[in-house]
């Protein structure tokens, strides 16, 4: 019904699309990624929030200039057909790898925690089928799923209580205890925690109230930053510096601290509940990748969706080249940082262009 209508996203959809796509798996390992800064890392998510919010401005500005085009179309308009298309091809490949990286890291985690003696093929196929199901309904369906996922998983914040009670607030001091090198390493590894909001350049044309999109998207960013901040804060309170450095998923260990009289091993429950966040993140990326393939091939077919999913499946399941795969999954997130500054470059090109034609 809504599929035929073009503008479908209201303000709540925008807030939660931005917020939930950002969460992903990164919270689980963020305290570890920032560990080069020791205890001083606790305020880093706030800094990331500021960076994200600043980077958001040129994205929205550019999108407002091309109200009915997503970034793939903007590329072709600004950079010409060939250059634009090649960049789009690269972008789609990047999306495929990112979806694969998020799925693989989550499924591996599940295997370590919950499904110790099983292979990952089954869960992976089910996960991918679910994503297809969500994306099939269009961007509004993804947005609705994000809202649902947010409220379903909000309860996990409650588990922080145990870490908060047992932790020590004195770990917060001293606030600025790091050198430039440590700060650089932490930023490089941690900034990806706020990645995801840049997808707004792709679903912007579908937003009803485009003028207020900046406000709503900022709200989404800060909602996510607040959650990330809470998890980092409690992790710093609860763990020693050695643990922050050596535990790959510190948040998983926070789950383990929970003591409920009627339930034990809540970490397994928590980590399986996390699937909602993984689904909403990957669904949004898949939707964007599908749009990309549509624009590259200049036709919109639902077969494109399946092509991308098959590509994702192959990337995750390539049996040889495990080393390469690991490296790829680690490095691919740095492309995200390019995505952050990319719109600024496009804005400059946009400003230059009319002058050139006039001249």
């Amino acid at each position: 019904m809504d599929k035929d209508k073009f503008k479908v996203l209201n303000r709540y959809h925008v807030v939660f699309l931005v917020q939930n796509v950002m969460v992903g798996t990164s919270i689980l390992s963020l305290p570890n990624r920032l560990s080069s800064m020791g205890y001083s890392q606790w305020w880093m998510p706030l800094l990331f929030g500021v960076i994200a919010n600043i980077v958001l401005i040129p994205m929205i500005w550019l999108a407002l200039k091309y109200r009915d085009d997503h970034l793939f179309a903007i590329h072709e308009k600004l950079l010409g057909k060939w250059l634009g298309k090649s960049i789009n091809i690269f972008l789609v490949a990047y999306f495929v790898v990112i979806i694969a990286a998020v799925c693989a890291s989550y499924i591996q985690l599940i295997q370590v925690v919950a499904l110790v003696d099983r292979t990952i093929t089954g869960p992976l196929i089910i996960l991918l089928l679910m994503i297809i199901y969500i994306v099939n309904g269009g961007i509004k369906s993804v947005a609705r799923f994000c809202i649902m996922a947010f409220f379903l998983t909000l309860g996990t914040v409650f588990i922080l209580k145990w870490g908060f009670v047992e932790g020590e607030i004195s770990h917060m001091l001293p606030i600025f205890n790091f050198n430039a090198q440590e700060f650089y390493t932490a930023t490089k590894n941690g900034l990806m925690a706020v990645g995801g909001f840049e997808l707004i350049s792709f679903y912007f044309p579908y937003i009803i109230d485009q003028r207020k999109a900046l406000k709503h998207a900022s709200l989404g960013i800060w909602l996510c930053v607040l959650l990330t901040f809470l998890f980092t804060f409690v992790s710093v309170m609860f763990f020693s510096e050695w643990q922050l450095k050596h535990l790959i998923y510190p948040v998983l260990n926070l789950f383990k601290e929970v003591e409920l009289s009627f339930l034990e091993r809540i970490d397994v429950l928590g980590i399986t509940l996390w699937v909602f966040l993984i689904l909403s993140t990957t669904a949004a990326y898949l939707w964007a990748a599908k749009r990309g393939l549509d624009s590259i091939l200049s036709t919109a077919k639902s077969a494109h969706l399946y092509m991308i999913v098959i590509a994702v499946y192959l990337v995750v399941q390539i049996p040889f080249m495990q080393e390469f795969q690991k490296l790829l999954f680690e490095r691919i997130f740095y492309v995200m940082y390019v995505m952050f500054v990319w719109p600024i470059l496009l804005c400059i090109i946009h400003v230059m262009k009319p002058k050139r034609t006039r001249g």
Binding site: D117, R118, I126, S170, L173, N177, S240, W242, Q243, E257
Partner: protein, 367 residues
């Protein structure tokens, strides 16, 4: 039609996934859920490992199966026991890990605990205990008062108000304290007496090795200095005091304030404890229903607790351990990396200024 095919495809995938038999899928009946592991020192290389497995009611003639094996590595030992126990040994339900004293003193505990900590199937609430003689004997013994040995052992190390002197060290606490330069680890010390078990003290670790044992009373003071809010009951014995001999305080609430001078070169710490409690038993000549007498006894208690704390701090300073983590009050204001050496330096030279303020809430309902 398309939809039906897709649905059938999804369903068949779902069910075939359930049928895959890759690896070893195991049902609960084939598993032996270990509840306690005991580790005894044999020699530099070998460990004697004992596991106890509680049995479901009516399935086995014994309530707890116990297996022992000599091994060099934990996992290898578990595999060896599996072949003996006709079931697969898994640690998902592990509750207690016991070491004997020799093992703890040999400095091998950290390696073993790290192994358990890495295993994601093990919860973080597994408690650690040091046993006076042999851990194997504790696990193999019969306790007529408590049929289920594992439940007894588990209950013994559950936090309750009356045993809050104990640090209840879990795997997470051990790793957290051991790997941090600030703290020194404490683990409860257990002795098997005839047909029961008793926590007779608390062991202190330094440099991965157990170095000494302190009394429960001293450990209680350490908990108070760590900022525990509700303390277990204290018996106070006055020495060289004609008026008072002994009293017993319950329902103690503790409010701790520590301030440091932020200077590592000449460290000073002001420790002030505000304690409130109810006197439930008193042996002495005073009439506690009079308020002046109450004031006087409060002063006496202040003196006594202050002295006990000062003695304890001196003792810890002499043996160069800091289970309270006082150096944290200096790390908080120190720029740069905090190391073991800095903790040692602070520990050796720190001057304590202890100030205790005791307040009697009431003395019971009798006049």
């Amino acid at each position: 039609m398309k939809k039906i095919i897709l649905l059938l495809f999804a369903l068949s995938t779902f069910f075939t996934v359930g049928c895959t038999r890759e690896g070893q899928r195991s049902s609960v009946e084939d598993l032996a859920l270990v509840s306690s592991v005991g580790l005894d020192y044999v020699n530099e290389k070998e460990i004697r490992m004992t596991v106890s497995i509680p049995q479901p009611m009516g399935e086995s003639p014994v309530l707890t199966e116990v297996y022992s094996v000599n091994t060099e590595m934990i996992q290898e030992g578990l595999v060896n026991i599996s072949s003996e126990a006709d079931k697969m040994i898994i640690l998902n339900q592990l509750r207690t890990i016991l070491f004997n004293e020799e093992f703890a003193r040999s400095g091998k505990v950290t390696k073993v605990i790290e192994h358990f900590y890495r295993d994601s199937t093990i919860g973080n609430k597994v408690r650690l205990v040091v046993v006076k003689d042999k851990a194997e004997e504790v696990l193999r013994a019969d306790y007529p008062e408590n049929e289920h040995m594992d439940a007894y052992l588990n209950d013994l190390f559950q936090p309750k108000l009356h045993n809050s002197f104990s640090p209840f060290t879990s795997i997470n606490d051990y790793i957290s304290d051991q790997e941090s330069p600030i703290y020194h680890t404490m683990i409860p010390y257990l002795e098997k007496k005839e047909n029961s078990l008793k926590i007779i003290g608390i062991t202190l670790f330094n440099d991965e090795k157990m170095i000494q044992i302190i009394t429960n009373q001293e450990s209680l003071l350490i908990q108070a200095l760590k900022g525990l809010e509700k303390l277990s009951p204290i018996a106070i014995k006055f020495k060289g005091n004609e008026q008072d001999q002994q009293l017993f305080v319950e329902q103690i609430e503790n409010d701790l304030k520590v301030t440091s001078n932020k200077n590592i070169d000449s460290p000073k710490l002001d420790i002030s404890l505000k304690i409130e409690g109810v006197i439930v038993e008193y042996k002495g000549k005073r009439d506690l229903s009079k308020s002046e007498e109450n004031k006087k006894i409060e002063k006496e208690i202040n003196k006594q607790i202050t002295k006990e704390i000062e003695d304890l701090l001196k003792k810890l300073q002499e043996s160069e351990v800091d289970p309270v983590g006082f150096s944290e009050y200096f790390r908080m204001y120190h720029k740069g990396k905090w190391t073991d050496e800095l903790t040692m330096k602070v520990m050796r030279t720190v001057e304590y200024n202890v100030n205790v303020e005791f307040k009697i809430l009431n003395t019971g309902t009798l006049k």
